[in-house]
């Protein structure tokens, strides 16, 4: 059983993992820097080139990766509670589709990076409002209706994305493809994403038990005094916002939002800590962030100087992990 002390210990350990992953990201690259020099460079001492590379290039990118991984994992965990489905992910309700339409439209028009990000964010919000408006039409909150609306909106966005790509000039296609795969090369500043991640985690902490109840069904939650409609709306709005910020920062990186909460939940169950959102949400965010930092480090070093879109790596790693988890679930029942 989880208790506050154990949860804090687990989270402290995961903060350690996160710091370690950031160190690796700062040290690795075309210019390898020793760990001790990494620390000095962060502080602004030592070799001028190392300071420039680490503080100017690697640190913002690693922090952006951490923020995106954390945002996606947290949003995924929230979506899984909202849809009461362990296979839900942050993109299932069409938010990444909307963001993709916005971003690619801006790319097609040849706009600057900041405007592309703005368009992506606007697209995500429009998709969120459309799905919410359509699914909420009869003021009920049925999961199947929400899910179906999201899937339809996502496939509509997919069609628009295909249309844009088929009329786009040849030289713009590579940028679009990288955006769609998910890539941290075009992130501007990590701080907004980090701030939203911290705010999201803080906002959800006092609602941990309510989320636990919601994941066990609306009637039970109602019977035990949860304001179900209000909490669900809050989860939906927050998860959408987190996802929108993540895709604005790095495009639609796959599988982190699906696999990380799943993996954390499975580990917690194995260790006998149960399935408690008060631990699951921050643990998923920290683990998801660390994972994306490592994946991005791999993406920019594995065939350097060529860079891979990090979304390709997370998918390549995520698919087998997910199939493995899926395959062994029935065996646990026996």
């Amino acid at each position: 059983m989880p208790n506050r002390r154990r949860a804090l210990l687990v989270l402290a350990a995961l903060v350690g993992v996160a710091l370690l992953s950031l160190f690796v990201a700062l040290a690795a690259g075309s210019m390898t820097v020793a760990f001790a020099d990494v620390l000095r460079a962060i502080g602004g001492y030592g070799d001028g080139l190392a300071i420039e590379v680490i503080r100017g290039l690697r640190l913002p990118r690693a922090l952006a990766a951490f923020a995106c991984g954390g945002l996606l994992a947290l949003a995924g965990a929230l979506m899984q509670v909202l849809l009461r489905n362990p296979l839900a992910d942050p993109y299932v309700l069409g938010i990444s589709g909307g963001a993709a339409v916005g971003a690619l439209t801006a790319m097609l028009a040849g706009l600057t990076l900041a405007i592309i990000n703005l368009f992506a964010f606007a697209g995500a919000l429009v998709a969120m409002l459309v799905v919410f408006g359509l699914a909420h039409g009869d003021s009920s909150w049925t999961r199947s209706r929400l899910l179906l609306t999201g899937i339809i909106v996502a496939s509509g966005c997919g069609a628009v994305v295909a249309l844009i790509m088929s009329i786009a000039p040849e030289e713009g296609l590579r940028g679009m493809l990288f955006w769609l795969m998910g890539d941290l090369g075009h992130s501007v500043s990590p701080w907004p994403a980090l701030a939203i991640l911290a705010l999201g985690l803080l906002a959800m902490q006092p609602f941990g038990r309510e989320l636990n109840l919601l994941s066990r069904g609306d009637t039970l939650a109602l019977a035990l005094g949860v304001s179900v409609t209000r909490v669900k709306f809050g989860i939906y709005a927050l998860a959408s916002l987190l996802t929108a910020v993540a895709v604005t920062t790095a495009g639609s990186i796959g599988f982190i939002g699906l696999v990380v909460p799943h993996l954390v939940r499975l580990t917690m169950i194995r260790l006998g800590w149960g399935n408690d959102q008060r631990l699951l949400l921050p643990a998923s965010a920290l683990f998801g962030g660390s994972l994306l930092v490592l994946a991005d480090t791999l993406a920019r070093t594995v065939i350097a100087p060529q860079q891979l879109p990090v979304g390709v790596l997370t998918a390549l790693l995520g698919v087998p992990v997910f199939l493995f988890l899926l395959g062994r679930q029935p065996n646990e029942r026996k």
């Binding site: 309510e210 009637t219 035990l224 005094g225 939940r265 169950i269 006998g272 399935n275 408690d276």
Partner: protein, 260 residues
């Protein structure tokens, strides 16, 4: 103070053009056990959900411990209501793996503050509830591995940890074998003798007559009949209720009803 735990005055409840009850005048006081009987689809669960405050009545006055329902709006304290009224649903959902102890502890939610974690005292309450439902040694089991009857007993144990004054039970005997049916009914009868009130949707009029002092019969056209079980549960009323002839048998001082 003589506030009834549950009070309905001229209550009308309907669902999708179907009238569950019309002009229902009904009081449930502390220490009483009520059975709700009626055919499939007559609206027993709908009525129970209305009594729990999950859906609004069409007309009339409804109150739990003096708090009028529906209990909504900005001033409504849903957790305070949950400390008074417990609800056992017909269906339990376990989309995620979770331990039995964790699932039963969920019932403590209305007693804990926003930042509280479950304490050792809560844990003892949960373990006592598991013990009462014959589930010692189940604490670390995954709920997804339980049988139907075990899952139902777990839901009852969860309701006990909630410690409400009013138990609203939608088919509490679902999936239970005979010995556990008797044990659960006796357990709720004990709760009533200690001052709680219970309202249970049941399908066996024999169990209703044996364990519930009072009964509410729903005939399906908005008609109802409420009163002491000894008076309202009889072969003639049940024959009208179920639309099938029934016979009353007597054994060991208990009345049982069998279809002809």
């Amino acid at each position: 103070m003589n506030t009834p735990v549950l009070e309905a005055r001229q209550l009308a409840v309907g669902i999708g053009g179907h009238q569950v009850c019309r002009a229902l005048d009904w009081r449930v006081s502390a220490g009483e056990s009520w059975a709700i009987l009626g055919r499939n689809g007559v609206g027993k669960s709908t009525l129970l959900a209305t009594l729990a405050g999950f859906r609004a009545q069409q007309r009339g006055f409804l109150a739990i411990a003096g708090l009028p329902l529906p209990h909504t709006g900005p001033g409504a304290d849903l957790r305070a209501m949950a400390r008074i009224r417990g609800f056992l649903s017909q269906h339990q959902f376990d989309p995620f793996a979770s331990t039995v102890l964790e699932t039963v502890l969920v019932g403590r939610h209305p007693h804990l503050g926003r930042w509280d974690w479950e304490s050792d005292a809560d844990r003892r309450i949960a373990e006592a509830a598991l013990h009462e439902l014959d589930m010692d040694g189940f604490a670390e089991r995954d709920v997804q591995t339980l049988s139907g009857g075990e899952r139902q007993r777990l839901a009852v144990a969860q309701l006990l940890t909630q410690e409400p004054q009013l138990f609203l039970l939608d088919e509490p005997l679902t999936h239970l074998d005979l010995s556990h049916q008797v044990a659960v009914m006796e357990m709720f009868a004990r709760r009533a003798s200690q001052g709680a009130a219970t309202v249970a949707v049941l399908h066996d009029p024999g169990f209703a007559a044996r364990y519930c002092g009072r009964a509410l019969l729903l005939f399906g056209d908005g008609e109802w009949l409420a009163g002491p079980a000894a008076e309202v549960i009889n072969a003639a009323n049940l024959t009208r209720l179920y639309g099938h002839p029934l016979r009353e048998l007597c054994a060991d001082g208990h009345r049982w009803f069998v279809p002809r």
